[in-house]
């Protein structure tokens, strides 16, 4: 660890490489986090199956790419497939826990998460998969920084997707209904908003955005059945730091997390990178709560 730290000091260009890689992956985290914030804000549900949606989106792209479709074209397909899955899950399970105690919905979505994860494990095997985009790399700073083009493309894709969702919520009629429901579900219902439809759309949209994120993940990185929970907890961490309503701070927190994670992985060794992510979640929650407790409040 000390060696690696010294290496960073001696070769600052390495830091730049880590930073760029981290930020590029961070945009994908932002998609999952934004979806989580949406569902949390509108339906008062913390969706533990968030990461499984990402994982399944990745598999959609993987299989289509294996069938010969260029992976970039499969992003909308993954989103559409996950939209349907999200909608189906809402209609079968989630609508029953919307107005229940928060722990009930956490546990129910945790059940969904285990179900999807294990189903993927049974159907697709535990192997690590990637989809080859066939794009090359940019070489910056005389070739000292290597940036694969697919990461840049996926970064841009993620930003476009996020912006589209943002505009949809701001401009469209359904988006307005969703935001109204987020502010006060009961009042929205009285004013004639079909909140059940709002909930199903919100949950499905969330699944779709996660599916698209997964599609980008499999191109830039990899998928396997067990990667879900890490994305869920990253999303939760980002939302806890950034708050529910603010797109810009969600993006900022995500990019920050991507960078921090990359540095930690380099310093501690990749075998501790996952441990770092989960410990960071604990540390952030405890730290935020300690700050609030000075105001004699707590996280809620």
């Amino acid at each position: 660890m000390v060696d690696n730290l010294l290496l960073l000091f001696n070769a600052p260009i390495l830091s730049a490489q880590l930073l760029v890689d981290g930020i590029l992956i961070g945009a994908i985290f932002a998609l999952a986090a934004y979806g989580m914030a949406l569902v949390w804000g509108v339906m008062d549900i913390i969706n533990i199956a968030q990461g499984e949606f990402v994982m399944l989106g990745g598999y959609v792209t993987f299989f289509l790419a294996a069938a010969g479709v260029h992976p970039l074209y499969t992003v909308p397909v993954a989103a559409a497939a996950l939209y349907l899955l999200g909608w189906a899950l809402y209609r079968t399970v989630v609508f029953r826990v919307v107005d229940k105690d928060m722990f009930i919905s956490i546990l129910a979505t945790f059940g969904i998460s285990i179900f999807l994860q294990q189903l993927a494990n049974q159907l697709f095997q535990a192997d690590v998969r990637t989809a080859e985009s066939g794009l090359g790399s940019f070489f910056l700073a005389d070739g000292l920084i290597v940036v694969s083009q697919i990461k840049v493309v996926s970064f841009i894709c993620a930003l476009i997707l996020g912006a589209t969702l943002f505009l949809f919520l701001k401009r469209s009629r359904l988006g307005q209904a969703i935001r109204a429901t987020a502010q006060n579900a009961r009042a929205a219902r009285i004013m004639g908003v079909n909140t059940d439809r709002v909930f199903s759309t919100t949950f499905a949209l969330n699944a779709a955005i996660c599916g698209a994120a997964g599609s980008l993940v499999v191109m830039t990185w990899l998928v396997h059945p067990y990667l879900g929970l890490a994305y869920t907890l990253r999303a939760f961490m980002i939302v806890t730091v950034a708050g529910l309503g603010n797109m810009a701070s969600v993006l900022l927190a995500s990019l920050g997390l991507g960078a921090v994670e990359n540095f930690a992985g380099f310093l501690l060794g990749t075998e501790y990178q996952a441990a770092f992510v989960f410990s960071l979640l604990v540390a952030i929650l405890v730290w935020r709560n300690a700050l609030l407790s000075r105001q004699r409040k707590y996280l809620k």
Binding site: R294, Q295, R296, K297
Partner: protein, 247 residues
């Protein structure tokens, strides 16, 4: 009389809204003091500040000779300064008796007391207090099953179980059946006289507060508008204007 509760120049703002602005008031030992004011005048905020619910922006609060402005809710409660809530708060899934039992004072509490069963004196005292507020026949019902007014009485019994020196009551008669109000007032007076508990009461029912309190403070728009004995407050033009909305 020395004040047991001494609020000095307390200011509390939420964002841009100043809920309490330089409030100074004293509650003498053994007295019953009233706090009135129109809705939104900052009465409950002041109660919250006193019991440590949120940090205050300016000023200080003294209780029984020591400053409590920086202490936290449970610490203040253990000193013997307790409050009841406007929207009652009781433990909904526990029986009334259990609600009262667990409200014993928690000042000196070693591991042994924490982990051992209640001595029978505690149960007897709890039953006596339930009798005192008229809930004895319902002692085995769950707290959450009771009506709002009954929960209010239960909360009062819980507070008394804690043997406070000062009790802050937030609208004790709201939601209580009108036929019970007179006897509740008599109970409150007995709590004060027999048990020696100093009372500081927020109340909207003017008949009750004028009858109960020896001295009344009136808040409006976060500021102390008037104070004095009930007769003076009743005829104070500023108080009347505040309630009728004139400025």
């Amino acid at each position: 009389m020395t004040p047991i509760l001494d609020v000095r120049d307390v200011t509390k703002a939420f964002g841009g809204v100043i809920a309490n602005d330089g409030i100074t008031l004293k509650v003498p030992q053994g007295a019953i003091i009233g706090l009135i004011g129109p809705n939104g005048s900052g009465k409950t905020t002041l109660f919250n500040s006193i019991v440590g619910y949120h940090p205050i922006d300016r000023g200080s609060i003294w209780f029984d000779g020591r400053e409590i402005s920086r202490l936290r809710v449970p610490q203040i409660a253990r000193l013997g300064l307790l409050r009841t809530f406007q929207q009652t708060r009781i433990y909904g899934k526990m029986s009334c008796l259990e609600n009262v039992q667990i409200s014993v004072p928690h000042v000196h509490e070693g591991l042994r007391t924490m982990l051992s069963p209640y001595p029978s004196e505690v149960t007897e005292r709890a039953e006596g207090l339930l009798e005192f507020v008229g809930l004895y026949p319902k002692r085995h019902l769950r707290g959450g099953e009771m009506s709002f007014g009954q929960q209010k009485l239960l909360e009062l019994a819980m507070a008394l179980m804690n043997q406070p020196k000062v009790l802050l009551l937030d609208e004790p008669t709201a939601g209580i059946s009108p036929v019970l109000i007179n006897s509740l007032m008599e109970r409150l007076k007995r709590i004060n006289a027999d048990l020696g508990v100093t009372l500081f009461v927020i109340e909207h029912n003017m008949r009750v507060i004028m009858n109960l309190a020896q001295h009344i403070y009136c808040l409006a728009h976060g500021q102390l508008l008037a104070e004095g004995p009930p007769e003076a407050i009743q005829t104070d033009q500023r108080v009347i204007d505040a309630y009728l909305g004139a400025r």
